[in-house]
Amino acid sequence: MSKSEVGTWEIGEIRFPFSEAFRLSLESIRKRFVRAAITTAAVVLGIAFLNSLMMMAAIQSVYTGTTGIQTYQYWLLFISLLVCAVGITNSMLIAVAERYKEIGTLKCLGALDRHVLILFLNESIIMGGIGGILGYAAGLIAAIVYGYITLGGKVADPMSKIVEAMLMPRTIIPIALPTVLALLIVSIVLSIILSMAATLYPAYIGAKLNPAEALRYEV
């Protein structure tokens, strides 16, 4: 158990089990539900845009035989995800500042810098994951509605074309999956990475806080 010895002390282990950290993160999100929902909405919008674009392109290609996505649309996508990340960073900076005192208290109770970091990253993973799934659903619905409207009148059975587009195989390393499934995986992974990357800086600020300063801070 003892990690090192200093003078007459035996320095023991300091830990913060993942289950406990995760629960604390979850409770913190529930407590500040509205702001968490707004932060999540940023992810939802970005990911919904991604999905609708890809899915519409897939429908387009089944119908016309072209690939359907223009280079400028990728740029648009990139910019939209960037805007979404900046939104998350901004919101998490406020969340960290609001909890200076809590961070100071946790450090008084024995928390290490990395425990504070993990706490905020957990929150970003939860919000990112939920945002990714919701964004995926929203984007898919938007694409289906779009496909139904544009194909309706042009082909006899628009729905079968849409389903065909959805099931069109896509290769994401290393296996080929139907488009719907591929997009689901891409959405969840991307939204979590995006959310974590955007939270890294605010979480780092929180983790590096000197406890005396953190406690002095009045909201």
Binding site: M1, K3, S4, V6, G7, T8, W9, I11, G12, E13, I14, R15, F16, P17, E20, L24, E27, S28, R30, K31, K101, E102, G104, T105, L106, K107, C108, L109, G110, A111, L112, D113, N210, P211, A212, E213, L215, R216
Partner: protein, 237 residues
């Protein structure tokens, strides 16, 4: 291992540099606190009480001088060892209670025990025991928002005692409480000091604290003005 002095400071100083001005929050403080003692640090606001609290608590690093807790110079500790010191050796009580708002009273008291790796059953048992001692045995599953100020401070006291610290540091523990509730908290601290032998250092300007303290350290402009033992004070009054 028993140590005679729980806290020892040697020429302790903390300067803050504000542009070309130097604010000497602490300027050469020598203080020794015996194990089991109840010491109050008194002084007007700006006298350096909180700075001294932060230095003894390992929350901030001094500009000059040394702080020994249980005979170890804590300025020599790295971040990990400092975290261990805060978890194991020191219990903190704050003016604003500082409970984690999303956790229940029981969970708040269990938190410091999580950091040192106490098994779950033992955590629950110990936390329940402590909350019962401070008179909140029937409020285990209430969140801080559902408790009064005095009750929140009791939870904070239970939390401070969770890992059997060498010393409990209290910064203005009665500052946000009314007269009667403040008195109850002071008496609770005194009882814990007497019965459990907990060493307590409080920074305060609450005069009610004088009656229960073994020694009172008067701080002014970052220096110790005088130290009185309780007997002298009672005579004075």
């Amino acid at each position: 291992m028993r140590y005679e002095y729980t806290v020892e400071t040697e020429d302790l100083a903390k300067y803050y540099y504000m542009g070309k001005y130097v604010v000497k929050a602490l300027d050469g403080v020598n203080l020794k606190v015996r194990r089991g003692e109840y010491v109050s640090i008194m002084g007007p606001s700006g006298s350096g009480k909180t700075t001294l609290f932060n230095m003894i608590g390992g929350l901030d690093r001094p500009t000059r001088g040394k702080v020994y807790i249980d005979e170890v110079d804590i300025s020599k500790l790295d971040a990990y060892e400092l975290a261990w010191l805060r978890a194991r050796k020191i219990g903190y009580i704050f003016q604003t209670f500082n409970l984690i708002p999303v956790l229940t009273a029981l969970e708040n008291v269990m938190l410091p025990m999580i950091f040192v790796g106490t098994p779950r059953e033992q955590r629950i048992k110990k936390a329940t025991e402590l909350l019962t001692i401070v008179g909140l045995g029937d409020r285990l599953h209430h969140k801080p928002g559902e408790l009064s100020g005095g009750q929140q401070q009791r939870v904070a006291i239970a939390r401070a005692l969770a890992n059997d610290p060498a010393i409990v540091l209290a910064d203005e523990p009665t500052g946000n409480l009314d007269l009667q509730t403040g008195l109850e908290i002071i008496n609770l601290l005194r009882t814990l000091n007497k019965e459990k032998g907990v060493t307590i250092v409080t920074a305060t300007h609450d005069l009610k604290m004088i009656d229960v303290s073994d020694r009172i350290v008067y701080l002014r402009d970052g220096k110790i003005e005088r130290i009185e033992t309780r007997a002298e004070v009672t005579v004075e009054l």
